[in-house]
Amino acid sequence: MFQLTELQHDALVELFNQGVGQAASAMSQIVHEEVTMSVPTIEFHTRAEVAQALGSVESRRICAVTQTYQGAFNTDAMLMFPEEKSLEIVRLMVGQALTPEELTEMEQEAMNEIGNIILNSCMSTLANIAGKELHGSLPMYRIGTSEQIFGASGGQWNGMVLTLKIDFNIEKHHINGYVAFLLDLTALQDLQSYLDQYLSGLMS
């Protein structure tokens, strides 16, 4: 089982909090209302564990915005909410009365943008400490069971999933979401070395 040292772990939590803080202020600017976000915990799991935690057993549907990053380290990043929560977030952001029970095409696009803002903000803090180029793709919106989203059963993949729980607050509404980064062994080592580099920079 992959583990970070306590220092590395704390540094990563702090960096992600900086990231989602930037995302929250970008979102506040869009909706002209206070949006706050924080990352209380981060954890490492296998793909199957994450799929299970997100309800693969109950076949609960989740909505995910995914982006691929390459360069300093390679990862597939995704922001995930239970389907009904994604409806809530988008409609709170858009300020529209609730009508259909699924996101319309334009609302999916809005969800994509929300994911894009959050994921890019998280990754930009990591790119900063890495000091290396990191290329990010455009976001993709997907909906399905966690099994389908993660493709948990497929392939000989020896990596880990770094998951962040995100507390999202807008207009007195409190919503929990998850961000997951799929990291293979090389990416995990890269990430660890950037964290060490960052920590030693802080110490010196």
């Binding site: 970008a26 600017q29 869009i30 909706v31 982006q67 360069g71 988008v90 952001m93 858009v94 529209q96 009365a97 009508t99 259909p100 319309t104 095409e105 334009m106 609302e107 696009e109 809005a110 994509n112 943008e113 929300i114 894009n116 803002i117 890019n120 990754m123 930009s124 790119a127 180029e133 990191l134 290329h135 990010g136 793709s137 455009l138 976001p139």
Partner: protein
């Protein structure tokens, strides 16, 4: 990709005409956020010639967008190589682009879906970081979605309206009552319900015909709705010639007064009824119940009590109001 056997000149000419023809807006900015490419679509819809734009900084061209979402996305592409998506729903038409000169005069912008992407350039070039801003016109899709949304709202309102009278139906009443009942229970405030029945309606229908009967119900529904004006009040058609009214935060005196006003409002319609057992025109009887719902009260108890009061009003001679538990005017 362009066929590799063509010469550099041919490739450039081809790229140039593709950029001129393509049906999306393309802007390329260099590392200093200066415009280095502005395609024909942009010329056409911004009503700005390339000469007025090329070499100018983003902040100079779009001062109102400085540090906004699009600008941040551009910075993210130039600094971090991150791609961004700017959705039309969350960002109302960021760029001043118009379908026609008329639309421009009316300041009616094209609805836009914008992608901002870093583009790879040979790293030996000075200021090699560039980014591409791609603008898609999604006005049609947005209009279509608005139409669908409006239709959905319309359908939803129909589900809760009575087909004949247009006032809320039984289903809407059940939902509203549920909410108000819970609120009254929590806040320990009085909740009043009135059950309303048209007197001798069978005789009206039998003698004037069903079409006249329908018209009569429409007029009564409107009259009852006129009396209850607060947003939390609701009059619904309960079935046949029966109506029901919910009056939250209304005590027994208030409810009786409102019920009496409803009775008079119907009477003053002066709808002729030569076969009524009560009057020369159409009248209604009302049964009223007022309660501060207790922990163990059910909605059905309240409605049952209003129903019994209505029955008493019928026995008292119709065209009158009876409150539940009030038997003072019962003939001996």
């Amino acid at each position: 990709m362009i066929a590799s056997d063509s010469s550099v000149d041919v490739r450039l000419a081809l790229l140039d005409s593709v950029l001129r023809t393509v049906g999306v807006g393309l802007i390329v900015l260099d590392a200093d956020e200066r415009v280095v490419l502005w395609n024909q679509w942009m010329v056409q819809h911004s009503f700005t010639a390339p000469d007025a734009v090329l070499g100018k900084a983003f902040a100079e061209l779009f001062p109102e967008l400085v540090n906004g979402r699009a600008h941040q996305a551009i910075k993210g592409a130039l600094k971090n190589n991150f791609a961004s998506l700017i959705s039309p729903t969350l960002n109302k038409s960021p760029f001043p682009l118009y379908a026609s000169a008329d639309e421009k005069a009316n300041n009616n912008r094209i609805q836009q879906a914008v992608h901002v992407m870093p583009i790879e350039m040979p790293s030996n070039l000075p200021l090699h970081q560039h980014c591409l801003v791609q603008v898609n016109d999604v006005s049609m899709a947005m209009a279509r979605e608005k139409q669908l949304r409006d239709q959905a709202m319309e359908l939803q309102s129909q589900i809760f309206a009575d087909g004949l009278t247009g006032i809320p139906n039984r289903r809407r009443f059940d939902e509203h009552m549920e909410g108000e009942f819970r609120r009254a229970k929590r806040a320990a405030t009085p909740l009043s319900v009135a059950m309303i029945d048209v007197d001798s309606f069978k005789d009206y229908n039998d003698n004037y015909g069903h079409q006249k009967g329908d018209e009569c119900l429409i007029l009564i529904a409107a009259a009852l709705s006129r009396v209850l004006g607060r947003p939390c009040d609701l009059v619904a058609r309960y079935g046949g010639e029966e109506f029901i009214a919910v009056m939250p935060s209304t005590n027994a005196d208030g409810a009786l007064a409102l019920a009496e006003t409803m009775r008079k409002e119907v009477q003053s319609l002066h709808i002729e009824h030569a076969y009524s057992k009560v009057a020369a025109h159409v009248t209604v009887s009302l049964g009223v119940i007022t309660q501060v719902p207790a922990h163990n009260t059910a909605i059905s108890h309240m409605i049952g009590a209003a129903d019994r009061a209505l029955y008493q009003a019928k026995r008292n001679g119709r065209n009158c109001v009876v409150a539940h538990g009030d038997t003072s005017d019962t003939p001996a």
